[in-house]
């Protein structure tokens, strides 16, 4: 099934069960292959899960659950939509999805970037955290479901709300940033107050915030071939935690 060129291994996923398919990839990794093109991917789970190193993946089709879970370093481009759990607990790397993301994108990720061109589902960016120089980033070009950035402990979520299939939906679902105690959520335009988690408020961005946003947007636009200026044509707001210890005073010793 595989044709190994000088640099890129091309694998056809047609009719393959994920275990065998991923084992093939790992075997090629052991042989020193670093660039992959995966064609006709159709729901195979765990692609690039647990890989460490400077790998490049181009995925054509629809990868299954937990794409790049626990990954450290891989750069992945998906020409299509993805299922749930992209970048679950990922450590580092970059995932660019030229389509929709599912639920639980970037759960507990602590480094790297995930760019989604259109909408994402529920519970995206839950418990993202930053550590030392690692500052994970999720950019969503469309709209998000409920509980975006819940328990967020660090990193950046940038929600654009522009490239959405859901014209009637609000830019984000309920409980945005509930329990967040670190990191920042930037939103293009405004968020209705009642969509925010308890105790949170959205505020205007500062020039320093705009610098951060600009850097991310330019890279995002380049990766997905979008017009950065169109993205900047609207102002941004931000949501930050009201405390980095939201539950610090809740208890009394017995």
């Amino acid at each position: 099934m595989s044709t190994t060129t000088t640099s890129t291994a091309v694998l056809d996923a047609t009719g393959q069960y994920y275990k065998e398919f991923n084992e093939q990839i790992r075997e090629l990794v052991r042989q020193g292959v670093t660039e992959f093109r995966l064609d006709n991917v159709n729901g195979q789970r765990y692609i690039a899960t647990g890989l460490e190193g400077d790998f490049i993946f181009e995925i054509n089709g629809l990868p299954g659950q937990d794409l790049a879970a626990f990954t450290r370093g891989a750069r992945i481009r998906v020409n299509g939509n993805v299922q749930d759990g992209v970048g679950n607990t990922m450590d580092d790397g970059k995932i660019v999805v030229d389509g929709m993301g599912g639920d639980v994108v970037g759960y507990a990720m602590r480094g790297g970037a995930i760019y989604i061109r259109t909408d994402v589902g529920y519970r995206v960016g839950i418990h993202m955290k930053s550590y030392l120089d690692r500052r994970p980033t999720i950019v969503i070009g469309g709209k998000a479901g409920d509980f975006l950035g819940e328990y967020m402990a660090g990193g950046i979520i940038l929600l654009l709300g522009m490239f959405s299939d859901k014209s009637d939906a609000p830019i984000t679902g309920r409980g945005l940033g509930t329990g967040m105690h670190g990191g920042v959520i930037y939103v293009r335009g405004n968020v209705p107050e009642h969509q925010l988690g308890p105790g949170l408020r959205s505020r205007p961005v500062t020039p320093e915030d705009m610098q951060v946003i600009e850097g991310i947007v330019r890279d995002y636009a380049t990766e997905l071939n979008l017009d950065a200026e169109e993205i900047f044509s609207e102002s941004f707001t931000k949501i930050r935690p009201f405390s980095h210890r939201p539950y610090g005073n809740m208890y009394v010793p017995t």
């Binding site: 890989l51 759990g85 328990y151 402990a153 660090g154 610090g248 208890y251 009394v252 010793p253």
Partner: protein, 521 residues
């Protein structure tokens, strides 16, 4: 307070003193003839109950600050100190016991959720005490483990449906079945999941070394694994909980097994919360979160909302570790534990750990700890029976945790169906814990549940490791004695062998759930 004359200040202090100022639990008795004012107690007490009074030029104490840890009593060079329960008593009332009064006063003062440490102290039946073991008499000989081999070795992991052997008549048969990865234990006792952060590095190192020397395993808990302990990986089970602290590729590949923590016996259904005070540089480095920030574990894993999702994480972990180690799933013992266990095994868990409601914790809301869940004995019996009834018992090993106090409890757990047990509270007791239950303050005077360097140095990893090895060796010998007495020479012959158990003073329903006959039958 504004500028008032001193006497007025004192009056005001009394006026605004909380109701419960003098309703403390313990009193410190100092034998004046013995006390030499050496101030050891002052230095040892991290709650500042003892202090040096400059005016009186002697050591004094404040009973209201004593938490009953006995550290001062243990270290007083002249044995001048005794810690007692306060003899002051409320009017007897079988319903409104003092604990309820004291808690209400505290909550009325603060509006806080009652927080507790260690396992539940409430009076819920301990079935271990109502189960009796068998021994051989006449009809089959008992075995003396001092003279004859006695096998305690245990393998945790999924076992094949059947074995296929290749026999050609001449050579010994060879095994054709591929055996799934197993955790090999020389004794069925493991050190339970207690995270680095909740307990300090000295004790993590002690557990790692003791587990290695004993050829058993210890569990990292949910706070990651410090890189300097990776070398003990062959005896380390790494845990993945909802906060995913310190969970990365290297961590997943560092141990002999991976455990998904769904629930904890002491606090089923809720998450965890390590206060920022306990996050020092080393904890921060291991958990991969900033120093001083709270480490919050959400109640559920947000990528697990169903058995199918659990399957997904089990296999994500297997993919990430290239199927080299078994994956365990730890659940708390709750009402439907047997059905849940069946789902967990069908989702692909190689090991299922069931944690009973008497299990310990570094911090849990008292209401949850004391009222949620069921005892491990009933849960274990129900899980083992259910998996047998469904013909899937061999697909996963069962580990029992939460309330194992002695070697006889281990033997009874194995006879009820466990493959092995975890000991947590017993592990801490071995290094000096006195169950004072204030683990969440970070001030543990015994140097256990604290990362304060002044306190944590009270635990020497060499001494602690030796004590853990001694404890498990002693229990293992006792298990061998009990097995020998029953005429068994292998722990495998005891597993799920409920005929070796009899109940005493139990109802028909209890006997039915435990699957044992009453003593005398």
């Amino acid at each position: 307070m504004p500028q008032f004359p001193n006497i007025l200040c004192e009056v005001l202090t009394v006026l605004f003193q909380p109701i419960n100022k003098n309703y403390h639990e313990f009193i410190i008795e100092r034998d004046k003839d013995r006390c030499i004012n050496c101030q050891v107690c002052v230095r040892q007490c991290s709650y500042e109950a003892h202090y040096w009074d400059d005016n009186r030029q002697k050591v004094m104490h404040d009973n209201s600050k004593c938490i009953g840890c006995h550290r001062c009593e243990a270290l007083c060079p002249t044995a001048a100190l005794t810690i007692r329960r306060t003899p002051s008593e409320f009017r007897p009332n079988a319903n409104w016991r003092p604990v309820f009064l004291q808690n209400i006063y505290k909550q009325a003062d603060t509006g806080g959720v009652l927080l507790a440490g260690m396992g539940s102290p409430v009076d819920i039946p301990v079935y271990w005490d109502r189960l009796l073991l068998d021994a051989s008499q006449v009809t089959n000989p008992s075995i003396d483990p001092l003279r004859e081999p006695m096998e305690l070795r245990t393998y945790l992991g999924t076992k094949p449906d059947r074995l296929k052997l290749l026999e050609n008549g001449q050579e010994p048969p060879s095994l054709q079945t591929e055996i799934a990865p197993q955790i090999k234990l020389d004794t069925p006792i493991m050190f339970a999941a207690m995270s680095f952060g909740a307990i300090n590095f000295n004790l993590h190192r002690a557990m790692a070394r003791a587990a290695t020397e004993l050829k058993t395993a210890y569990n990292t808990g949910e706070g990651g694994l410090h890189r300097s302990l990776f070398k003990y990986g062959k005896h380390t089970i790494v845990q993945v909980a909802s906060g995913r602290f310190g969970v990365h590729r290297d961590y997943l590949n560092a141990g002999c097994g991976i455990e998904i923590k769904i629930g904890q016996g002491a606090k089923p259904g809720i998450g965890g919360h390590l206060p920022g005070e306990k996050i020092n540089d080393k904890v921060s480095e291991t958990r991969m979160i900033p120093i001083g920030s709270d480490a919050i574990s959400p109640a559920p894993h947000h990528d697990i909302y169903s058995i199918e999702d659990l399957l997904q994480l089990i296999f994500a972990l297997k993919e990430a570790s290239e199927y080299r180690v078994p994956v365990s799933v730890k659940i708390a013992a709750v009402h439907n534990v047997a059905a849940i266990a069946s789902g967990v095994v069908r989702a692909g868990a190689d090991i299922i750990t069931v944690d009973g409601m008497r299990g310990g914790t570094g911090a849990a809301p008292a209401m949850i700890r004391d009222n949620v869940g069921i005892p491990i004995e009933l849960a274990l019996a129900a899980v083992d029976q259910r998996l047998r009834d469904e013909g899937i018992r061999h697909k996963a090993s069962v580990v029992a945790a939460g309330g194992i106090r002695c070697a006889a409890d281990v033997v009874k757990a194995i006879a009820l169906g466990a493959d092995a047990v975890y000991i947590g509270t017993a592990t801490l007791l071995a290094v000096g814990c006195t169950l004072c239950g204030r683990c969440y303050t970070g001030k543990c005077p015994w140097g256990i549940a604290t990362n304060d360097p002044r306190l944590s140095k009270r635990q020497n990893p060499d001494v602690a490791s030796r004590k853990l090895v001694n404890l498990v060796n002693a229990w293992s010998h006792e298990i061998q004695e009990m097995l020998g007495g029953m005429g068994l020479n292998s722990i495998e012959s005891l597993r799920g062998n409920r005929d070796k158990l009899r109940g005493i003073g139990l109802s028909d329903t209890e006997l039915d759930i435990l699957g044992v006959k009453h003593a005398g039958r």
